[in-house]
Amino acid sequence: MSDKAKTNASPMRAGSMSLTLTPWIVAALLLMVLPFIFNNNSSITIMNQMWITVIFALAYNMLLGQGGMLSFGHAVYMGMGGFLCMHVMNYVEDFGLALPLPLLPLFGGLFGMGCAMLIGAISTSGAGTRFAMISLGIGELVAACSVIIVAFFGGEEGISGDRTYGLPFFGIEFLKQIEVYYLISFWLMLSAALMYLFSRTPVGRMANAVRDNPERAQFLGYSSRWVRFYSFMASGFFCGIAGGLFAINYEILTEENLNTASSGIILLVTFLGGVGFFFGPIIGAIAFTLLQTVLSLETELWAFYAGALFLATVMYFPGGLAGLIMMHVPSYRFGNANKLFVPYIKTLIPGLITVLGSAALVEMIFHYRHGSVGDNEMTLFWITFDSHALVPWIVVSVITGVAFYITKTTAPALKEAWGDANTPPTSGGAS
């Protein structure tokens, strides 16, 4: 039967032993050389932000993707870890405690885990709406406390410190961004590896089982509640680490680290990357940081594009960006990936032009409507023109229209090529 052929042709065994090290080594190398490629301070600052978000998102996905628990208040654990680290940092400064800075995130992790234990004790008895709403409620409460309880949270100004007072670590005082970068990278590799391994342990596996069918898991000797609780704790721990790194990187923590907007964003980030794959949140964090930080340098409308991107992602790639990538694995495995190359170029380039053209139109409308009087000049894609003249409008519209038309006409060919590439080479037609 045809589906037998399919099963046999796929040697990938879900959750199988092939703990291949290659991606990890590549990732480590990349982390090491990236600062040499993007070597100005702002790139490093942005990368620091990215890696912190990566840890946070991975930790979040331990709940969402692996445990099926939707949390609306996860910023709490990262924030709490961060605040504690900030206090420890200040303690180090004030009392000369001999603590090397690189160990600081550990405190954050433990504190994050402690908070998770406390709240998990009441919230993990269910996974559905109840869990989500308790997390929301707690999130709101903690966020509200952050402005009321000034002693710990420092009000809306937050608390700040200076990372350079810790014990020098092999002569490194963490004065420079690059030093912080390597510290963060180290923790990133360590946390990611640990989180990955966690998903392969008995608790990690049972987290999946409980996500799918909590009741049945009970009849296999596992208490769904405890399984959730352990996942929650582990997630809290890594969130706290991310918080600690945040404290080191920014040397300030504020109400923003706890509020529900941050909690919401991490959900979006994780989803954008793809909850179904371990590496999904990594891609999501990178993409979102670029969007938020780099795109917002280019346009005020960045949130508009972000919203549109989220809509497009859920509608067309519910597996997130990681899902999009993984879609190509079968054709690659069949050795058919090359069949896709030409159709992709034929469709995606005009597709890209369509998207950029539409964005250009949006920008032009925006400029036309909201630009100051007399300021008719605008610059898009390194071209400066008059947004009140007719010509640019016609040019952009025509380019966009034509590109759209080409995309539309070449799309069926791509679809066909796609089907073609995903047919196992051995299978003889329909049966």
């Binding site: 039967m1 045809s2 589906d3 399919k6 995903n422 047919t423 329909a430 049966s431």
Partner: protein, 233 residues
């Protein structure tokens, strides 16, 4: 009444139905047999439009392949799914009421709620209990009754006797014959060969996603080769 020609259906890339041909005449009980996983349920789903069908499905001469399932249902096809799909949060009675077509008035048609309760007294006892807590067998009865409430002219039943006690199996067999008597044609997917052979006018045996045998129950009894090849392990 129902005429299926060269029906294909896929789940993703797996080609489950590979050209099924069958037909059901007015007032007839036709059984669809085959091994587990051979695609009998998929055939029903494809007819009902729940799985996209390729090929032709004609109901009273009208092409219904490609129609939405509620449109098909409103033409007079009834479908009793194998998974029961009892609606949680609703009582037995509410589940039955949902079986009625939009705009259908209570008491119009061949069946009333009371008929159902008469046929299956268990349901009557549990009329106002949330239906999902009922026993497996009771749920099975409810699923069938729910579809009957819509007063279909043609009924597809997927494994109606599953989980029923021997006595109830007998009862269901009687009900099926009663249904036929009231002029409803039936396509019956059934595991229990004996029942199917007893009440069916004709049988189809499926294998490899196609119909491999067609004939009366008696003909099938006489064909050991068919039974061996397509019905036993």
């Amino acid at each position: 009444m129902l005429e299926v020609t060269d029906l294909h259906a896929y789940y993703g890339k797996s080609h489950i139905l590979q050209g099924v041909n069958l037909n059901v005449q007015e007032g007839e009980i036709v059984a669809l047999l085959g091994r587990n996983g051979v695609g009998r349920s998929t055939t029903c789903k494809a007819i009902m439009g729940e799985v996209p069908p390729q090929g032709s499905v004609k109901f009273r001469g009208q092409e219904i392949a490609g129609k939405k399932s509620f449109e098909i249902a409103n033409l007079g096809l009834g479908y009793v799914p194998e998974n029961r799909d009892i609606f949680p949060g609703l009582t037995t009675r509410q589940n039955l009421i949902l079986g009625m077509k939009p705009g259908q008035k209570a008491g119009v048609g061949r069946w009333t709620i009371d008929n159902m309760f008469d046929m299956f007294s268990n349901l009557k006892e549990r009329a106002d209990v949330e239906a999902t807590v009922m026993s497996g067998g009771e749920q099975q009865m409810l699923t069938m009754c729910r579809t009957l409430m819509g007063d279909p002219d043609f009924l597809m039943i997927d494994d109606p006797t599953e989980g029923l006690s021997p006595q109830m199996v007998k009862r269901v067999a009687d009900v099926l014959q009663e249904i036929a008597k009231r002029g409803v044609a039936t396509l019956l997917v059934e595991q229990k060969l004996s029942i199917a052979m007893d009440i069916a006018d004709r049988v189809y045996v499926m294998g490899h996603g196609q119909v491999q045998f067609e004939g009366t129950p008696d003909e099938l009894r006489g064909r050991d080769d068919v039974r061996k090849e397509w019905l036993e392990v």
